[in-house]
Symmetry: C2
Amino acid sequence: MENEEKKKETGALREKLDARGAHFTRQRAAVYDYLRQVDHHPTADEIYLAVKSGLPKISLATVYKNLEALVDCGAASKLTYGDAAARYDIRTDHHFHSRCRICGKIADVEPVRSDALLGLIDLQAGFSIENWRIEVIGICLKCKEIRRD
Amino acid sequence: MENEEKKKETGALREKLDARGAHFTRQRAAVYDYLRQVDHHPTADEIYLAVKSGLPKISLATVYKNLEALVDCGAASKLTYGDAAARYDIRTDHHFHSRCRICGKIADVEPVRSDALLGLIDLQAGFSIENWRIEVIGICLKCKEIRRD
DNA sequence: ATTCTTGCAAAAGATTTGCAAACAA
DNA sequence: TTGTTTGCAAATCTTTTGCAAGAAT
């Protein structure tokens, strides 16, 4: 049943927070739950507005603090692809993103042979790679169909 | 001689601005010249401080407006890799960047077989790629030598 | 009991905007 | 002369911070 699944996830969050000496709170759980339930990568403000319906007194500052706590304990990640506002992602594994130039939607892109990237670029000598990010910009299927280009 | 080179570049900038109906001004040329002479990717504020020595009355807002004009006419590009402040680059051709986690230095990375990137990722069906960006994060040679890790 | 979190307001940092005077075409 | 740019100040937007009261461990 759905409640079992929810309880399991809640427990997982509790453990991750605990490992960092952070507390489990209703506000924190609400931010986490919203991030889990949406299929896109919302900004702090969007999360704030959404979560406010269940917790009317929550403040935007609390949402920011909780997002930071979630990122710190490995329960979410922060996307900073140069928009005005940062976006947050429930996934923390290594993956990339595509952005539609028309509708702005950001979708997940899975790495297939990620390490082969190194052969495609001419890096300065002696640079030790620890991580890399790829963003693909273009037009998504939905926008293409609407425009019939 | 150096003046010939400078005049040629100035002429090129004038043409690009002209094509957009934009004017060539001392302030605009100063921002452009600074971008040409540095070997890194400065923020608007750094450009402002540097250009102010030659044009003491220039304002930060003017620097922002000029950077936008330069980007618009294809004389520079804007880097938004998620820092607090955007960075500007005199190059407008397709290339990438590396960032040192220790010293924060951003260096150019040349694409070798850039189109082969498509084989490395699993993009959603129907997405038309127009452009892509890669950022490599790690430790540069200089910082590695200092730490002797 | 102790430590962390909340909510509020204020502050901070980056960037944009409105506008009259100055400048470039 | 006409349209663009400048410099200034004020405004905007995102994010952070200080702090007293409240909640979690």
